[in-house]
């Protein structure tokens, strides 16, 4: 279960997120959509307790798998030691490392230094890290950025399988086709406010709807 209840937060007087409420039930994939700077990452950091909300509260069933917006790792470590270290931090057996890498399509990267990975490889390792221990909640900030089309399809299958195993999955994304394909619901945030929460239609419909909600001017 992932729940945001009237979350608000400003940075130095500038409002970033305003009374954002939504929830992700176990077994559900929810896509968090919005233009750049809308407040997606801020909401995610509020959900994880990395930022203090000015008002409202966040409720996330722990442990939670988290993919940050930007990949974060130790360049000098091999992928397997990086995951081994995070497994220890998450109090998950080291034996979980291999299946997590496999599920994220990163099994071939185990021996490579983190600092030498390509963007898409890094993204896959970031996803593998979130899968450690198969937590009941996932909060993924643009988990498919930088992945090639085949990997995007694989990630989609993975997210669906996590949900069918009973996890609550929240992903933020800019890819409307992806949202339409993977999500049970989409939550659209514009200028810090939730402006729509609905079932995604076909990709084309979602795009039309998104542009309508966001206002064309903002996408230029």
């Amino acid at each position: 279960m992932i729940e945001a209840v009237r979350l608000s937060r400003d940075f130095g007087g500038r409002e970033a997120v305003r009374e954002v409420s939504f929830s992700v039930a176990p077994g559900e994939v929810v896509a968090f959509l919005g233009p750049n700077g809308a407040g997606k990452t801020t909401t995610i950091r509020l959900l994880l307790g990395l930022l203090r909300p000015a008002a409202g509260r966040a409720d996330v069933t722990r442990p939670v798998g988290y993919v940050p917006e930007l990949f974060a790792g130790y360049d000098a470590l091999a992928v397997s030691s990086y995951l081994g270290f995070l497994a220890r931090m998450k109090r998950v057996p080291r034996a979980e490392v291999e299946p997590s890498l496999g599920a994220a399509g990163a099994a071939d990267l185990a021996g490579r230094p983190v600092g030498r990975l390509s963007k898409g490889q890094r993204q896959r390792v970031g996803l593998a890290q979130a899968l450690l221990g198969r937590p009941p909640s996932y909060v993924l900030d643009e988990p498919t950025q930088g992945l090639d089309p085949a990997q995007v399809v694989e990630a989609r299958t993975l997210l669906r399988s996590l949900a069918s195993d009973g996890a609550a999955v929240l992903i933020s994304t800019h890819l409307l086709a992806e949202a339409a394909a993977v999500a049970d619901r989409v939550v659209v945030i514009v200028r810090g406010r939730v402006v729509a929460e609905e079932r995604p239609g076909e990709a084309g419909d979602l795009e039309r709807r998104f542009l309508e909600l966001v206002g064309r001017g903002e996408l230029t």
């Binding site: 930022l51 974060a72 790792g73 130790y74």
Partner: protein
């Protein structure tokens, strides 16, 4: 948990050039200054090596510690750990242990000087041992200060400079202390005065306690600083 942090820190630290450069500089400068002292005194004494090594640790320990928390904050891995959530204490204690071990390893070749002394003459081993104990304790306290400085910023050079200047103030805390109304307190804060006892062959429990408390206080503050990053 702490063990995993120590292992990871050691691997990351020794994959960087920092320990090698720090070690080379430390041994080179220490060797030059110490041999100069020996030549001047014409006595087989380890004592003069202690303050020289201590002062060099003041400058070099911050370099070993500067990345500890600052680099994790900059690269985003700290946020990943805080989201788990990992508490500040095992994190900073692990980082401190790794930094301390690293400084001790880098310092270890000083025992070669002792062998040199054995060859030169007949040194008293008491002051040698107490001097080494003093240096090890000093290194632990300085490493804790370095980790604390690193936990207050995400810029490594700022962390190193802060730790260096704070250590420098503590080193010279006794200077002109008698002229001040708080002179007695300042005198007791001076890490160079504390080290002097060890170099002279005396292991005083209050001096040991001083270094241990300094390290504990710095680590407590560092853990609080890390936990404070969680909810900003």
């Amino acid at each position: 948990m702490t063990r995993a942090v120590v292992g990871k820190e050691l691997r990351v630290l020794w994959a960087s050039p920092v320990p090698y450069v720090v070690g080379a500089l430390l041994q080179l400068v220490l060797g030059l200054l110490y041999v100069d002292q020996l030549a001047a005194r014409r006595q087989a004494l380890f004592q003069p090596a202690v303050p020289i090594a201590g002062f060099l640790l003041l400058a070099l320990t911050p370099l070993v510690c500067m990345r500890a928390v600052a680099e994790e904050a900059r690269s985003g891995t700290l946020e990943l750990l805080l989201a788990v959530p990992v508490a500040g204490r095992p994190l900073v204690v692990g980082k401190w242990l790794a930094a301390w071990i690293t400084v001790l390893v880098v310092l270890a070749p000083v025992v070669l000087f002792v062998l040199l002394l054995e060859w030169f003459g007949n040194p008293d081993l008491g002051p040698v041992l107490s001097g080494l104990v003093g240096l090890a304790l000093l290194a632990g306290a300085l490493a804790a200060l370095g980790v604390l400085a690193s936990s207050l910023t995400s810029t490594q050079p700022v962390a190193a400079m802060t730790a260096f200047f704070v250590s420098l103030l503590l080193w010279f805390a006794h200077v002109r202390a008698e002229a001040l109304s708080v002179g007695g307190v300042m005198d007791r804060l001076s890490i160079s005065e504390r080290l002097r006892g060890f170099a002279g062959g005396v292991v005083d429990t209050s001096d040991v306690a001083f270094f241990v408390l300094l390290a504990a206080a710095a680590l407590t503050l560092a853990a609080a600083a890390v936990d404070g990053r969680r909810l900003r």
